[in-house]
């Protein structure tokens, strides 16, 4: 079960309907992203409309300022939106709505294959005590000695402290109140944006650390035998915890037996999926490709299609992301800006790094 922030727990006790609706919307949204059936019982638009209504009512309830009697009177609606108390509660509820769905959005992402999440409060330090992954050496001995030379296995502690992240967007309360905007869609997009940024940071940390591997943990030319040897090495040094083969669908498409005397039929799983689901007993797990809008080359993708990775998710996730405290949302009053721009800024604190006592491997130059 996904983590639940304290502010979300409190909110759901006070308004379970909005909470449940938003969580259900996010569940459908995430299933839709994964290509599964979604929004079957209720359409996306109807859910968004219902969440808008729930949001507006919650703002009115908490701010103790009743909604304009005639919601079609846009002047009254605009005046209502300019009320700083109304704005304060609208921001607060929007921020809580992000926290409602962020954990489950992260858990349904392919990020969860490589990244473990730790949820802390603002100002806290996330402390990871890594156990030593080795065993003691055993010495032969005679029977007339009380003990042999003392050994110790030492651990290591690694910490993460929050780094603030911000998104500033042009969403405003007025659009939501008059039905032009969707709070559900905005919250979902902000949440997915955060998830994508966390995936980018996780993936950057992961690929940097994997790229630094050498020796028996780095295979430079693919062959099914060299991949098997890498899997064996990772399994052995993770004390028998079975690894999986990770990569994008394109990278995994080339993970085949080196002997070319194979044939496949149209209804074979390789043809259906584009990759083998299991190779020599090791599960093959695709990482969902993501768009990389920061790359100057149009339509670039973030994940590297030329490398595959071998890691044991059951041993210890390679990357750790600590999320600190709830989400903050604030609005600049349009009348305080020279050009009457209205900004909404969402803030969230997290830090990502490779922190692990596990061994992993990389295959480059896929043949």
């Amino acid at each position: 079960m996904a983590f639940v922030f304290n502010n979300v727990k409190q909110f759901s006790q006070e308004n379970n309907k909005l909470h449940d609706a938003m969580v259900e919307y996010a569940r459908n949204y995430n299933e839709q992203r994964r290509g599964l059936k979604a929004f079957e019982a209720t359409s996306k638009e109807r859910m968004e409309s219902a969440i808008n209504a729930g949001f507006i009512n919650e703002v009115a309830k908490r701010s103790r300022y009743d909604l304009p009697t005639d919601m079609s009177d846009k002047t009254s609606v605009m005046r209502y939106c300019n009320n700083p108390t109304v704005q304060f509660f609208a921001n607060e509820i929007a921020a809580i709505m992000i926290d409602m769905i962020l954990p489950q959005t992260l858990m349904t992402s392919s990020i969860s294959y490589i990244t473990e999440f730790e949820f802390k409060d603002l100002g806290d330090t996330a402390k990871f005590d890594l156990k030593n992954n080795q065993y003691y050496t055993v010495s032969k001995a005679d029977y007339r000695k009380r003990n042999t030379n003392m050994q110790k296995l030492y651990g290591r502690t690694v910490t993460l402290t929050g780094v603030n992240h911000m998104i500033t967007i042009g969403q405003n309360l007025f659009d939501i109140l008059i039905g032009f905007g969707s709070i559900a869609d905005d919250v979902m997009k902000a949440t997915v944006s955060m998830e994508r940024q966390m995936l980018f940071e996780s993936y950057d940390a992961f690929t940097t650390a994997m790229g630094n591997l050498s020796g028996n943990l780095a295979v430079t030319n693919y062959s099914s035998k060299s991949l098997m040897k890498l899997c064996q090495t990772v399994e052995a040094y993770n004390q028998g915890r079975k690894p999986v083969i990770l990569g994008t669908a394109v990278a995994l498409n080339g993970v085949l037996p080196t002997n070319a005397n194979y044939r496949y039929l149209f209804d074979d799983s390789y043809v259906k999926n584009g990759y083998l689901q299991t190779l020599n007993g090791y599960d093959v797990v695709p990482l969902s490709q993501v768009a990389d809008p920061t790359n100057p080359t149009p339509y670039s993708l973030k994940l590297d299609d030329t490398k595959i990775y071998v890691a044991s998710p059951a041993s210890d996730k390679i990357v750790k992301t600590a999320i600190f405290g709830g989400t903050f949302s604030s609005t600049n009053d349009a009348h305080d800006m020279a050009n009457k721009n209205q900004f909404q800024t969402i803030e969230k604190s997290w830090e990502t790094a490779v922190i692990t006592n596990s061994v992993a491997g990389i295959v480059t130059n896929l043949g």
Partner: protein, 188 residues
């Protein structure tokens, strides 16, 4: 910042003989495996010995610091914090705080991390070399095997150069190989 030295007192006489163990206090930090000269406090009831950095002419009969038992880290204001890390290499015996030391005796087997040796000599230490006390430092100095046992210093012979594993540091995968020297005391 470099790690502090860590020892594994694998098989030492101090394990069985109380008199070879002392509580000491120095005015400087002394890492695990550091050699110090001990002097009685001179006060009745005060069992904390005064530890000083070895000096020329008094390099024998030295005592070796255990790893810090309190595991405290000091900040720039002099405040100390405990319970912050499970890695023994980030701790030293902080100045002006009591710490434990033992008397190395001939035949004692000890495993020292590389940081217990003067930094300039670590790379050249080989089996058969000697690690000995030196003037104005608590870490050990290297004397090449060919030079023989240095005179009038607490000395250990290097039995082997090896590695022990630590979980990797932030940003790395796998286990970190920490260089260690397995030594035997040959001269007190």
């Amino acid at each position: 910042m470099a790690n502090y030295g860590v020892i594994n007192e694998a098989r030492v006489q101090a394990q069985n003989i109380d008199a070879f163990n002392r509580t000491a206090q120095a005015t400087v930090d002394v890492a695990g495996g550091g050699l110090v000269a001990l002097a009685n406090s001179g006060s009745q009831g005060n069992d904390v010995y005064t530890a000083t950095v070895p000096a020329t002419g008094a390099l024998t009969g030295l005592w070796m610091a255990y790893n810090p038992s309190n595991k405290a880290i000091a900040d720039v204001a002099g405040n100390t914090y405990t319970g912050l890390s499970t890695d023994p290499r980030v701790f030293t015996n902080i100045a002006n705080k009591p710490f434990a030391a033992f008397k190395p005796k001939v035949g004692d087997n000890i495993v020292l991390t590389a940081e217990c040796v003067a930094s300039g000599s670590i790379a050249s230490v080989a089996a058969g070399d000697y690690l000995n006390a030196a003037n104005a430092q608590t870490v050990l100095a290297r004397t090449a095997a060919a030079s023989g046992i240095p005179t009038s210093t607490t000395t250990f012979v290097v039995d082997y150069v090896g590695y022990i594993s630590f979980p990797a540091s932030k940003g790395s995968i796998g286990m970190e190989q920490q260089k260690v020297f397995g030594v035997t005391c040959v001269q007190e």
